[in-house]
């Protein structure tokens, strides 16, 4: 189907990345993956996905940096972001400290609720 919506999965943990890929593909999405924030930004610019799922704690360029860059980029700031993370306080603190940054469109704590995750992904992409 050519009108399948593309989701960019930014996640360093290979198993989590595979899981999200399969889960999203089983529910009618196309996916691309990036193992860190730097690759994630390049992919976002090139592919302009309908949704980005973003892990926060990654060894190379962190998810916080990528989130900041996305929301400060005029071309990319409207792409909805679903933060999928294991660390709650760090991200909340980051958003509170950066008043100019909007909160993410969706927020999931690992491990995720599959049904809720898919429902939110569909609603954010207008499926």
């Amino acid at each position: 189907m050519s009108d399948q919506k593309l989701v960019l999965i930014v996640e360093d943990e290979p198993d989590v990345s595979s899981f999200l890929t399969i889960l999203l593909e089983d529910n009618g999405f196309k996916t691309e993956t990036a193992a860190n924030g730097r690759i994630g930004m390049t992919q976002a610019k090139a592919l302009h996905p309908s949704l980005i799922t973003l892990d926060i704690s990654m060894p190379e360029e962190s998810g916080l940096r990528m989130y900041h860059d996305l929301k400060m980029d005029a071309d990319l700031k409207d792409i909805p972001v679903a933060v999928v993370t294991g660390i709650t306080p760090e991200f909340k603190r980051f958003i509170e400290q950066h008043r100019k940054l909007p909160p993410p469109e969706a927020y999931f704590e690992k491990p995720i609720d599959k049904t809720e995750f898919i429902d939110v992904a569909k609603s954010l992409t207008g499926e």
Partner: protein, 495 residues
């Protein structure tokens, strides 16, 4: 009048008229109204003509009465007083004098109401001696002078107030209540090499309180056989040590908080991996998709293994223990660790080498701990070398002695680390291995090295490989071994 009578009269005349002037010191008589009633010639020479003036005007050139008047006290207590004072001479210069005050009754049998003052100038040497004595007694340190048998020849007031009578007793008895000298005695070292030595020691005060002090020993005098007296100056650091411990405890609490947060993060990722595995097994079964089923099963297995290894690493990290030291040959440990990993390394295309360095002397080490450190470093080295561009990865392990330290070195020619990774490499749960690492390996390594009172460091550049170096000071290893022996002896006593 007889000849003898004439002599007696002359003596009486001398005593009553001239003696006062012949005294080798300034003398003055102060009346009940504090006015100077009489002075001798020497007094006048130094302080000028002051008969009839108030004593503080005469002696200190001031209209202000003294805060504590020695002459008053002398009369009130009706006894002699001696004090060191600074008076002012007729030229307005300060002079250091020792002043003797004596209550005098002018009428025989009457109540003393005059004060005789005798003021003698202190010579410079005497003044220095007094100042030195004052410094020696009041300086806020313990000072003792020891002979070659470690007996205290002279001790200052603070030492005796804290540890009890010291003169003539051995320093180890006074400071610690021991019957034999301490093994790391800095005084013995100074007697031996004539140099200054310092160390931190624990002693017991005469009240039975444990006290910690930093002692510095310097040579004081030399005899035909070298140094024959040393001076020990000790500063009490008990309070400082307590504060340091408090800071450490606080840091430990913060570290516990970070560790718990890191642990939660790791567990959440593992749960998500397990959740993914279950989803794939479940959906694979439903769809009859064997490939997906297999992938899901692999995911479950992998995450199960990761959980097991994380729990193991975590427990070994959390186990705060004192190293169990046994004499070991450092070269042998390296051979054993290489043997353990040689096949796995080969599979990853990495060659392991035992570096060609002069073999170090045996040392007392915790076998399990040091093996764990070297295994961690070797396994990291193999991972880094295996992804080297163009292959040819090599990890070299060596052990050698340098500047009184036993050094273990693990050097790889792998990908190296940038400044940020280098900075975080020994911190909690930091890993660059994505799902493969728990981030506890280097942290555990550092902890074991610290338990051996050593340090660990890394030299690294991106693309240039990394060299991890464990440095264990030999003298600390000896101390640890002695402490272990003492613990064992104590344990025997309790048994």
């Amino acid at each position: 009048m007889s000849a003898a009578g004439t002599k007696d009269a002359a003596m009486q005349a001398f005593l009553s008229e001239s003696l006062f002037d012949e005294l080798p010191m300034g003398a003055a008589l102060i009346g009940p109204d504090k006015r100077v009633r009489a002075v001798n010639k020497r007094f006048e020479d130094v302080f000028g003509v002051f008969r009839g003036r108030i004593c503080h005007e005469a002696l200190k050139q001031t209209y202000q009465p003294c805060l504590s008047c020695e002459a008053d006290l002398c009369l009130t207590e009706n006894q002699v007083r001696v004090s060191d004072e600074i008076l002012v001479d007729r030229h307005g210069r300060d002079i250091q004098v020792s002043v003797y005050y004596k209550p005098i009754a002018l009428e025989k049998g009457g109540k003393p109401d005059h004060v005789l003052i005798l003021a003698s100038k202190l010579t410079e040497t005497k003044r220095w001696k007094r100042e030195f004595d004052r410094l020696f007694e009041h300086v806020p340190c313990y000072i003792s002078i020891l002979d070659r048998d470690l007996n205290i020849v002279h001790a200052n007031g603070k030492l005796e107030r804290t540890f009890g009578r010291a003169d003539g007793a051995s320093c180890y008895k006074v400071y610690k209540g021991r019957n034999i000298p301490c093994t790391d005695c800095p005084a013995m070292q100074t007697f031996k090499d004539g140099k200054e030595h310092s160390s931190t020691q624990e002693g017991v005060t005469h009240d039975g309180e444990l006290t910690r002090y930093v002692v510095t020993v310097s040579p004081l005098s030399w005899g035909p056989d070298g140094v024959d007296r040393v001076i020990e100056i000790s500063t009490d650091v008990t309070e400082l040590h307590r504060l340091e411990k408090e800071v450490l405890d606080n840091e430990r609490l913060v570290a516990v908080g970070q560790t718990v947060a890191g642990l939660a993060h790791t567990i959440k990722n593992l749960l998500m991996g397990l959740e993914g595995g279950m989803y794939m097994v479940d959906s694979g079964l439903k769809k009859g998709d064997e490939a997906r089923l297999e992938r899901g099963w692999d995911m479950l297995q992998r995450n199960f293994e990761k959980t097991t290894s994380m729990v193991r690493d975590f427990l070994s990290f959390a186990k705060g223990r004192v190293p169990a030291l046994v004499p070991l040959n450092p070269g042998d440990i390296i051979d054993e660790v290489i043997e353990l990993y040689v096949d796995a390394a080969k599979r990853q295309g990495v060659k392991l080498e035992h570096g060609k360095t002069p073999l170090p002397e045996p040392a007392s080490l915790d076998r399990e701990g040091i093996e764990a450190c070297l295994t961690n470093l070797l396994s990291n080295g193999i991972d880094a070398a295996s992804v080297r561009e163009g292959g040819g990865g090599v990890v070299t392990m060596s052990a050698f002695d340098r500047d009184g330290e036993l050094v273990f070195e693990v050097k790889d020619n792998g990908i190296g680390m940038d400044a940020d990774v280098k900075r975080r490499v020994f911190t909690t749960f930091f890993t660059t291995k994505g799902g493969e690492g728990t981030g506890l390996g280097l942290l555990t390594t550092r902890k074991i090295v610290q338990e051996h009172r050593g340090t660990i460091e890394v030299d690294t550049e991106p693309g240039q490989g990394s060299t991890f170096r464990i440095r264990l000071p030999r003298n600390e290893l000896v101390k640890l071994e002695e402490e272990q022996q003492q613990r064992n002896e104590k344990a025997k006593q309790y048994r």
